[in-house]
């Protein structure tokens, strides 16, 4: 059984070099998925590369009106950033549904994203919010939309040597609001059976001018359902519009039957949760407009 | 005395006059060899309506013994 090496370099370049040198190497942020996977034998990386000690990897900073979240920033630290929590409450709440307080004190949104689980709680909220991430790799840095990272359960589009160094959220649009809801059997310590993130913008008279709806656990990756967003745009989120959105959500849902939920239950919940999340997002948009 | 009636004796009632429960077990084993081997781990006796833990108790004044499956606990 080859043992795993542990590295804690102090520069992004060193991380990239270590990851590039060994295709089995894994970057270590919070480690809450990685350590479990190693312990269960699902993963046996040649080395683990802890990038938390690199300056700027932990914490939230403003860039213009937008937010830059270091890849090693634990989920609970997002709540502590009042401006972020006010601008993107859906994202912050989604990240703070993961696991328990203990887990969220370690777990990061970047890790949640790169673990590439279709049920990742923070990812639908990030996608709805139009978040991007900055990827560092052997050929430098690139910025990509969050939804382009996961490609299949447990698989990402990251090339060898690449890792996510930060997540970027745009400025909150005027009249914007977001929300994320999930369905789990328990109130905490659970994996989403279905998750729904909604981000929308209302104009002064309450008409929706743009909307993004993203769903978790209804397909191999988190999905952005453009039809669902379109169903809301131009409406005041009346019952017909919400019903149309729910239908679009259900049409876009292609879940599996597994130990956490059935196809029919997941499809039904996707519609219910997206509607409820849209209403919360609208309330937030209205409250802030 | 289910399930021991069907498992061992092919009857639900027997007329015996044992002097105590050890003696009863011996007599039942005589009727159905093998009963004595499982009596301690699997059987409880109720003597005149009360579960009896002491198998040496004199049964001279007892009128009825019910044979029950022994129940454990969690």
């Amino acid at each position: 059984m080859p043992s795993t090496a542990f590295h804690a370099p102090d520069s992004v370049e060193d991380v990239v070099a270590l990851l590039a040198a060994d295709p089995t190497a894994r970057p270590l942020g919070g480690g809450t998925d990685l350590i479990v996977q190693m312990r269960s034998g699902r993963l046996a990386p040649g080395s683990v590369v802890d990038f938390k000690r690199i300056a700027g990897m932990t914490g939230v900073r403003r860039e213009g009106d937008g937010f830059v979240i270091g890849a090693a920033t634990p989920c609970t630290a997002l709540k502590a950033d009042a401006a972020l929590a006010a601008a993107w409450p859906g994202v912050v709440e989604a990240a703070n549904l993961i696991g328990s307080v203990q887990v969220r004190n370690r777990a990061t949104m970047a890790g949640n994203l790169c673990n590439a689980s279709p049920a990742a709680d923070s990812v639908p909220a990030l996608i709805a919010a139009g978040a991007t991430c900055v990827v560092a790799g052997p050929s430098g840095k690139r910025e990509v939309p969050v939804q382009e990272i996961p490609v299949a359960p447990g698989k990402t589009s990251l090339a060898p040597g690449e890792f996510v160094v930060e997540i970027r959220l745009p400025a909150r649009p005027e009249g914007g609001g977001d929300a994320y809801l999930r369905s789990t059997p328990r109130t905490e310590m659970d994996i989403a059976v279905v998750g729904a993130g909604v981000s929308l913008v209302l104009d002064a008279d309450g008409t929706c001018t743009s909307a993004r709806v993203a769903l978790g656990a209804v397909g191999p990756t988190v999905v952005l359902v453009e039809e669902a967003g379109k169903a809301l745009v131009g409406t005041k989120l009346d019952d017909d519009a919400l019903a149309a959105m729910s239908r679009a959500v259900q049409a876009a849902s292609n879940p599996i039957d597994d130990k956490r939920g059935s196809v029919s239950y997941r499809k039904a919940m996707a519609g219910v949760l997206a509607r409820r999340a849209a209403l919360i997002a609208a309330t937030r948009a209205g409250a802030k407009a | 005395m289910p399930p021991f009636d069907k498992e061992f004796f092919a009857t639900d009632r027997l007329d015996l006059a044992p002097h105590n429960l050890f003696d009863l077990v011996d007599r039942l084993d005589g009727l159905a060899p093998g009963f004595a081997a499982i009596a301690q781990p699997r059987v409880h006796f109720a003597v005149d309506g009360v579960l009896e833990a002491d198998w040496s108790r004199d049964l001279a004044t007892a009128s009825e013994v019910i044979v029950l499956p022994r129940v454990g606990g969690g």
Binding site: L28, I35, Q102 | -
Partner: protein, 166 residues
């Protein structure tokens, strides 16, 4: 693979240990440092029995590589009682009978103290959600929640009642 040397501050004192690169902080605490108060109930961050405070935040020590603790500050259940008397949370667990088998108790006490360190007046709901990462199979949580609320009340009064020597 050779072992890694790690230096930490553990319950206020300098502590060093050697660990396998893939060992968890919980493994190091229990097997290298002999502190078996932190328990392993699952090894996957789902039960909270291994809860410790690392650099000011409570974490599942089974979800931290021991090597990550280099230069860090760790508080375990063994360091909760200060000055040889029980912390109010420990005291209230005893007074309310908030433990039965006691196996999950260290994790609950570390987590509850972490809550009260930052929120001196939590609601019952806040206590329940904060402690949702700690599984208890014996008590049904009722007496645990009461003990934590009572400890909070006592800490707010800043009037330490009689406490048992640790």
């Amino acid at each position: 693979m050779s072992k890694i040397h790690v230096s930490t501050t553990l319950n206020g004192d300098a502590a060093e240990f050697l660990c396998d690169p893939s060992a968890s902080l919980l493994d190091a605490l229990r097997d290298e440092l002999g502190l078996t108060g932190s328990k392993e109930g699952c090894g996957s961050g789902d039960c909270g029995a291994c809860t410790v405070v690392l650099d000011g935040e409570m974490v599942c020590s089974c979800l931290v590589f021991a090597a990550e603790a280099e230069g860090g500050t760790i508080q375990t259940i063994e360091g909760v009682a200060e000055s040889a008397v029980l912390h109010p949370v420990q005291q209230k667990f005893l007074e309310h009978g908030a433990l039965q088998c006691g196996f999950c108790t260290p994790g609950f006490i570390v987590a509850a103290k972490a809550l009260l360190d930052r929120n001196p007046d939590p609601t019952e709901t806040e206590v329940r959600y904060w402690l949702a990462g700690n599984l208890c199979r014996c008590t049904g949580y009722d007496k645990i929640v009461r003990a934590v609320m009572d400890a909070a009340a006592e800490l707010r009064q800043d009037r330490p009642s009689e406490r048992t020597p640790a």
